[in-house]
């Protein structure tokens, strides 16, 4: 059965621009002409940047979009080249991708899977995008990844932290650079043990949806492995804004650590509430009461304000890293926009470059070629140290940062400080690890 195909668009776009209209109507079925979905035939290639522009993650989406614009500028030879200078692969030359100038279209995911798919589909069907990237939640990432697999384009995930994205919902056409729940747990546990000792009682508040479940499981199993006891784990509704009734009973339970498996607005509110209750000033079981937030982002830290001070969590990347790659990225981003990039911006920028590089090395935009080039690809100089794109599940394996809310921030961006860079070996797991079980990668789909 022939599938839909839009490769004519690239040709038509250029020919129309050149004013070479075809006089007679030509009628044909499209699938005959193209080797793969949306094969760029003109002098340009179109990428689709699908980020939340409305809804609670709009600011994160805006930062992702800034990163993509910067990446496009660098790929086309503009600016200072950014991470292309420090990237271990030297295939990119600053002349676009495979000599074609990079163009892009943008869309609004609204952080809803339906809207995200509609937006991604319009990029594929209408604009002829050959790769879709971006997003700020795992629900959206899984939905769009499945769509890209069906349509036959590459999906480079943006910010998505759930194990499922490269676990039970993994797809051959999808790739994730961001870290995941398992890695957060594995990186955090040793630091927590060092700081708070191995005789602790933890109380979990968990966002009642997939990402919350995987994060709770990851943190629970890592902390229990080093001797912590889990007193209780309570699920909180996604739409909850006031967490007082969940936080009030924590002290009664005899727990001395509160783990907030929340993200975004949930995390900002639950942490603010917890600090309001004065939990951090209390003594339980003869120890200081502590709060832990497994996944941190700078935007959330900003929303929670002074409440983050001294609270541990993990992130994918932070602008205060001092390796060459991070410095180069902070410099080019900072000079263009006037403030340091967030971890969402970093992962999106890196994903765009990794895709471009894979196309160059494969010598084609064909998704199957790109998949082959990315699978098992080892690289360095992108800010996270030596990194591997594992072939089995298309997950990047790299160092993970454990961070802490800074006590004396010097600016509104200087909210987190790096406590430890957890080496990659410590966060690596087997592809069939129980937390990732189920799901099949399948085979790459080139569309046509």
């Amino acid at each position: 059965m022939s599938t839909s195909n839009f490769t004519r668009r690239g040709v038509l776009k250029t020919s129309a621009l050149a004013g070479a209209g075809v006089a007679l109507p030509t009628i044909f079925t499209a699938s005959s002409a193209a080797a793969y979905m949306n094969e760029p035939k003109g002098s340009t290639v179109t990428l689709g940047f699908n980020v939340p522009q409305s809804g609670p993650y709009a600011d994160e989406g805006a930062d992702e979009l800034r990163a993509y614009e910067l990446a496009v500028e660098h790929l086309n030879g503009g600016g200072d080249g950014g991470l292309m200078n420090t990237f271990s692969s030297k295939a990119l030359k600053g002349n676009g991708i495979l000599g074609k100038k990079v163009e892009y279209v943008t869309g609004d995911t609204q952080t809803k899977s339906d809207a995200a798919r509609a937006s991604a589909k319009s990029m594929i069907e209408k604009d002829g995008a050959v790769m879709i990237t971006g997003g700020s939640s795992s629900g959206v990432a899984v939905a769009v990844q499945a769509l890209c697999q069906e349509a036959g384009v590459i999906f480079m995930a943006g910010l998505t932290h759930s194990n499922d994205t490269t676990g039970k919902d993994k797809k051959a056409n999808g790739f994730r650079h961001f870290f995941n729940s398992y890695m957060s747990g594995a990186a955090l546990a040793p630091v927590l043990q060092k700081m708070y000792g191995s005789d602790r009682k933890a109380y979990h508040l968990t966002a009642d949806y997939n990402w919350g479940y995987t994060t709770e499981e990851a943190v629970k199993s890592s902390t229990e492995a080093m001797g912590w006891e889990t007193v209780n784990a309570v699920k909180t509704p996604l739409t909850q804004t006031d967490f007082s009734s969940y936080i009030a009973p924590v002290l009664q339970s005899g727990a001395d650590v509160l783990v907030l498996n929340h993200y975004g607005g949930n995390m900002v509110n639950s942490l603010t509430n917890a600090v309001q209750f004065g939990l951090r000033d209390k003594q339980v079981n003869g120890k200081n009461f502590e709060i832990v937030v497994p996944l941190y982002s700078r935007l959330m830290a900003k929303g929670a304000g002074a409440n983050v001070k001294g609270i541990f969590g993990s992130t994918n990347w932070h602008w205060s890293l001092t390796d060459e790659g991070s410095k180069a990225f902070v410099k080019s981003f900072g000079e263009k926009y006037g403030f340091p990039p967030s971890q969402a911006a970093h992962t999106c920028y890196v994903q765009a470059l990794l895709y471009a590089d894979a196309c160059e090395r494969a010598g084609t935009f064909n998704p199957c070629g790109v998949v082959e080039a990315l699978e098992g690809f080892e690289f360095d100089g992108m800010g996270n140290g030596k990194t591997l794109y594992r072939a089995e599940d298309h997950q990047c394996f790299k160092d993970v940062l454990v961070v802490k809310g800074k006590e004396n921030p010097t600016s509104e961006f200087d909210l987190l400080e790096i406590v430890e860079v957890t080496p990659v070996e410590q966060v690596t797991y087997a592809p069939d690890h129980p937390q990732m079980a189920g799901g099949e990668l399948g085979t790459c789909n080139p569309g046509a």
């Binding site: 600011d59 009642d208 699920k235 804004t241 006031d242 009973p249 509110n269 010097t410």
Partner: protein, 343 residues
């Protein structure tokens, strides 16, 4: 036992927020007969009054500090609030610290004006229109208002802390003879509860004990007759709309330290406040307050770990479940009047 006392306390606090918003909403239903979907937006604007006021207080000029570096290695630009120059750093910090309570004074005129402008400019033309049209136009207005806020303040929550003296929590447990630390409650939330009680009391007293309030109540019961008596009821209703907006706004101002304000916080509260109003009974002010506290307390109980162990997910649906049960057993909610919004 202590767990139950704690959740009752919690429910009262939650309920006071619900009651306050529902009260404003009911004032508008009851007096003007208008379904105001922009009421959540008024709550949100109130919270942003607090944000704006603290921004005004911290309005700064830049001083370049050569000794420190920013993230690009350039000399660090330090923001110094103008208020430091006026009062010195210590007094300046104290004023900034009290930004939220002080912004009550700022928000009352702003909210009264917003309410007045809304009623005169838009709502007035919709008294005779079907409820569906009222919903559409006020929903449109709510979207416009929140998009404007988003345009200027971004989508991220903005931390707006309470004054430092209210940090930490009060130990009820020790007071009531339980073990220490078992029943603790944040000072600011106690302030919020007292504040809500004060506002609710003031609104009731205003309606009950003043001539103005008496006329408004008469107008709620029978608008035409009051109009025939030669009283300009429209003008009073406009003022009531302004008061309702101010109530919603004050609820928002004081809520800002509890949850960092963001542009869609109004929409988050909108559905809930409608449920509260309807459960209380359309057009009944005491009903709205009662339902607010009732739902607040039930929600708190449903979030207890013991309850969730036996009935997982109950916390997700408790409010709606209670609403359905009440509406099926009491046709017009707890204290609704006959014939209000029933067609």
């Amino acid at each position: 036992m202590d767990a139950i006392v704690l959740q009752i306390l919690n429910g009262l606090d939650k309920g006071s927020a619900y009651a306050l918003i529902a009260l404003g909403l009911t004032l508008i239903f009851g007096t003007l007969g208008v379904v105001n979907f922009a009421h959540g937006a008024l709550f949100m604007i109130g919270a942003f009054c607090a944000v704006t006021f603290s921004r005004i207080l911290t309005w700064s000029h830049t001083v370049i500090d050569e000794t420190k570096k920013d993230f690009l290695g350039n000399p660090l630009k330090v923001e110094v609030p103008h208020i430091y120059d006026l009062f010195g750093q210590a007094t300046g910090d104290a004023i900034i610290d009290w930004a939220v309570p002080l912004s009550i004074l700022f928000s009352i005129p702003v909210m009264l004006f917003v309410g007045y402008a809304m009623e005169r400019g838009l709502i007035k033309h919709f008294y005779k229109r079907p409820h569906a049209d009222q919903i559409l136009v006020t929903f449109g207005l709510a979207i416009v208002l929140q998009e404007i806020i988003k345009y200027y303040y971004g989508a991220n929550p903005i931390p707006t802390p309470a004054p430092a003296v209210f940090a930490g929590s009060f130990d009820f447990g020790a007071l009531l003879g339980f073990d220490p630390n078992t029943i603790i409650y944040p000072y600011w939330r106690l302030v919020y509860f007292a504040f809500a009680a004060l506002i609710i009391g003031a609104v009731f007293a205003f309606l009950q004990f003043t001539t103005f309030g008496m006329v408004v109540r008469a107008g709620m019961a029978d608008r035409e007759t009051v109009g025939l008596l030669g009283i300009n009821i429209d003008k009073r209703f406009t003022i009531m709309f302004g008061i309702a907006a101010a109530v919603a706004g004050l609820a928002g101002v004081m809520y800002a330290p509890i949850n960092s304000p963001n542009y869609h916080m109004g929409m988050d509260f909108l559905v809930l406040s409608f449920v509260v109003v309807v459960v209380g009974g359309m057009g009944s002010l005491p009903g709205a307050v009662l339902a607010g506290f009732l739902l607040g307390i039930l929600e708190s109980f449903a979030s207890m770990a013991i309850v969730l162990d036996t009935l997982p997910g109950l916390n997700q649906i408790i409010i709606y479940l209670v609403a359905i049960i009440i509406l099926l057993t009491r046709p017009r909610g707890l204290m609704g009047r006959k014939g209000v919004m029933e067609d």
